[in-house]
């Protein structure tokens, strides 16, 4: 035994060293990786984490643009949050935000899916022409989309010109059905994104499964419900989450088209936050509302992630 052990050692020793070297090497590589990450991390901290922490802090203060409060920044505890829960305009804006969100989601997803489905298996030239047309709405900056839609839905806008040609009555879209109008604008803006997502997902659905289903006698509708949809359910969930988060933050589009009005009919949380912070000059209260927006965003994403997991 002794001999064995003694004779064994010389063989084991270099192995150990090799291990050590390997470990050292790993640490070195990891360190190198981390060093390369440092600039990105610094940028994130300066321009991203700090503002967020500051926002959280300001929501507990009386920060104001003007007036006595602008002079003395004070920590006021949960006052902003308490008044937020008493504020009926907050409730109105939450409801408006959810309506806007739901309308936009359904519109963007259904339309995006339908377009992607219709474009599937069509020839390249057709896809090459139609695709960019839909993409136009997406690549345009929000401001341009708002302007286009305002002129389209305006009193003397394109749509009303068409109505006049068809001898239909003039409709003040932005005032009679403001919420529907801004949702339509947002759907037009966002559909292309969903379409692209669905397109790549649909391309990934193996055609042999579809064919097999068809051989088994499934019609088109059944194939879609039973085969295609389950295959792309992850895309649907991811797409819903991304659309939700981007829709929650929509500001410019609504601000330019209706300004949150008439009255409070399109007043969503971002617009209300802006009004409180910059028009009523209560920055502290405005940041508290933005925290509410953040919380809603987090709740919804956790909700979607859960659903995805369960599936």
């Amino acid at each position: 035994m002794q001999q064995l052990k003694a004779s064994g050692t010389p063989f084991l020793y270099p192995k150990k060293e090799e291990n050590m070297n390997k470990k050292q090497n790993e640490v070195y590589v990891e360190a190198k990786k981390s060093v390369l990450l440092v600039p990105a991390i610094i940028l994130l901290i300066v321009f991203f984490v700090t503002p967020i922490i500051l926002t959280v802090y300001y929501s507990f203060t009386n920060l104001a643009l003007s007036g006595e409060n602008a002079k003395q920044l004070k920590f006021i505890g949960f006052s902003n949050y308490i008044s937020m829960f008493k504020d009926r305009t907050v409730r109105i804006s939450i409801v408006n935000t959810l309506i806007f969100l739901l309308g936009s989601l359904i519109g963007q997803q259904v339309l995006g899916f339908a377009i992607a489905l219709l474009m599937k298996n069509k020839n390249k030239v057709f896809r090459g022409i139609i695709g960019p047309i839909f993409l136009a709405g997406w690549i345009m900056p929000e401001v341009v989309v708002a302007l286009c839609c305002s002129t389209f839905f305006g009193d003397e806008g394109t749509l009303n010109q068409i109505f006049a040609f068809l001898h239909l009555p003039n409709v003040e879209f932005l005032y009679a059905i403001p919420m529907v109008t801004v949702i339509l604008a947002n759907v037009w803006h966002g559909t292309a994104f969903s379409m692209m997502n669905f397109q790549s997902a649909l391309d990934g659905v193996p055609s042999d499964i579809e064919e097999a289903a068809r051989v088994d006698g499934a019609n088109r509708f059944q194939t879609m419900i039973r085969i295609i949809l389950p295959c792309i359910k992850n895309t649907i969930a991811t797409n819903t989450m991304l659309n939700t988060l981007s829709t929650l933050g929509v500001f410019g589009l609504i601000y330019m088209m209706t300004g949150g009005g008439p009255g409070t009919s399109t007043l969503t949380l971002p617009i209300f936050m802006y009004r409180q912070a910059f028009v009523s000059q209560q920055l502290g209260y405005g940041t508290a509302i933005s925290m509410l927006l953040l919380v809603i965003g987090i709740i919804l994403s956790v909700f979607y992630t859960r659903i995805m997991k369960n599936n």
């Binding site: 643009l65 007036g67 602008a70 504020d87 305009t89 410019g252 009005g261 936050m273």
Partner: protein
């Protein structure tokens, strides 16, 4: 595995934050920028002191011309450089941008145009410099050249002064005499009660169906104009004011309802313009520059300055405005004493606390307010002068409607000099817009009560 999970969660949260944060940052992006710089630089900057002037560019060039002309004849031109930097923004955004600019030495201009209602709030915030040391040696300030009421308006209890008023105004009912003639109405019109106004609207609607009978600023987008030209003209006509005698905000009363009901009647009876015209930020210009001169509008509740548009130098020249336009005083509710009512406001030139060239700035300010330079500017603005000696000038006093509108100044009401006003006024605008877009006056008032209570605190409100 655990680490990976943790990392994934962290990333997910970051992503959420980033996306919502994107939405937030959009707001700042929307408000920032746009500042036009038109520099009135002399050829060689050299060692000159540089001062900058900021005001709101509302599409007309009168203010810019004023400062430019002042600089062109300025005796100290070789020592001082003036940078004219207007802010192109809606009225509400202008105040926000100014408040932000005044917070930093790097962005604070040296002279800023302040609406007198915003003055109290900016003074409370410590944004503006006390001008009393400079005014001590300013002869015209101390010898009664400036209207006493206006001097009082910018003087605080401890004797400090935060702005030199450069214009004031009165409001009334402007009407197009051609439309009145077409409707078979007397072209010398002076309603005695609110009901008279509504009756006149009814006649116009019947006789001239294509004409909008009545226009008053009614939206959030038109900002202070909605509060002052519309709501406060009505409210003060009922005999009530925004604050009670103990300086508490009146948030619920019969008179608020009366005022809102008047607005409601105008819109529900179809006497008002379409919402798409009146609820956007351009509404004030649409009515004064477009609708009234074209005979598409009969009566407009607006300020004296609208006549500035109709001059040759204005944004919408209307050579015959003297004959075709009429002005009537806004009556009190039932014609009760004093029979008519007007609100009066105005703007002032202030020097920011963080300006590093206060002496030079005040010197240029004084020059802008000197008789000749100021006279031409105030005539171009189409507003009422703050210097009494201007009123004896022939060109100034012979301006159409000047005499009548100046006479309204007697007994004019001023907005409360309260630093909370600039917040409360935004709630007034929301309340008026709600009524216009179909909310009942009772609900709108309840909303106003909730909003004001939220902003100023329970201890500063009162119900009547």
């Amino acid at each position: 595995m655990k680490l990976k999970k943790l990392l994934a969660t962290a990333l997910a949260v970051t992503m959420t934050m980033s996306l919502t944060a994107c939405g937030n940052s959009a707001t700042t992006a929307d408000t920032a920028g746009e500042t036009q710089d038109s520099t009135a630089k002399a050829e060689d900057a050299g060692e000159k002191t540089k001062i900058s002037i900021t005001f709101r560019d509302d599409g007309s060039t009168v203010l810019k011309d004023w400062f430019q002309n002042a600089y062109d004849t300025y005796p100290d031109k070789d020592k001082i450089d003036v940078e004219i930097s207007p802010i192109t923004a809606s009225e509400g955004d202008y105040f926000a941008k100014i408040a932000l600019a005044l917070q930093s030495e790097d962005t604070a201009p040296d002279i800023v145009c302040e609406d007198t209602f915003q003055l109290a709030s900016d003074v409370a915030a410590g944004y503006l410099a006390d001008l009393s040391p400079y005014l001590k040696d300013y002869t015209e300030w101390n010898d009664g050249t400036y209207y006493g009421a206006l001097v009082d308006g910018v003087t605080y209890d401890d004797g400090s002064v935060y702005g030199v008023p450069y214009c004031t105004d009165t409001r009334g009912l402007w009407y197009n005499k051609e439309v009145f003639e077409a409707a078979g109405l007397d072209t010398e019109w002076q309603p005695k009660t609110w009901q008279d106004v509504i009756d006149t609207c009814a006649v116009i609607k019947e006789k001239c169906p294509d004409v909008v009978p009545f226009w008053c600023n009614s939206g959030v987008a038109t900002g202070e104009a909605t509060s002052m030209q519309t709501y406060e003209m009505l409210l003060y006509g009922t005999g009530e004011q925004l604050l009670d005698e103990n300086d508490k905000w009146i948030v619920s009363s019969e008179n608020i309802l009366k005022s809102l009901n008047f607005v409601n009647t105008i819109y529900s009876q179809g006497y008002g313009p379409s919402l798409s015209k009146v609820l956007n930020g351009e509404a004030g210009n649409t009515s004064s520059r477009e609708y009234l001169p074209a005979g598409k509008l009969a009566i407009s509740l607006d300020g004296y300055w609208i006549t500035g548009n109709y001059k040759d130098t204005g944004a919408a020249p209307w050579p015959e405005y003297e004959e075709k336009l009429g002005i009537a005083a806004m009556p009190t509710t039932e014609g009760q004493d004093p029979g008519s009512v007007t609100m009066s406001g105005g703007w002032a030139l202030s020097i920011p606390e963080l300006s590093d060239q206060k002496d030079a700035a005040f010197d240029f300010l004084k020059y802008c307010m000197s008789y000749d330079v100021y006279k031409n500017a105030i005539i171009a603005q189409g507003n009422i002068a703050t210097r009494t000696d201007i009123s004896s000038d022939e060109t100034y006093s012979s301006q159409p409607f000047m005499e009548k509108c100046t006479s309204f100044l007697d007994g004019a009401f001023y907005r409360p000099r309260n630093s909370q006003y600039s917040t409360v006024t935004t709630h007034i605008q929301t309340m008026v817009e709600s009524v216009v877009s179909g909310t009942t006056p009772e609900d709108a008032m309840a909303q106003y009560k909730a909003d004001v209570t939220n902003s100023v605190g329970e201890e500063n409100i009162v119900e009547k």
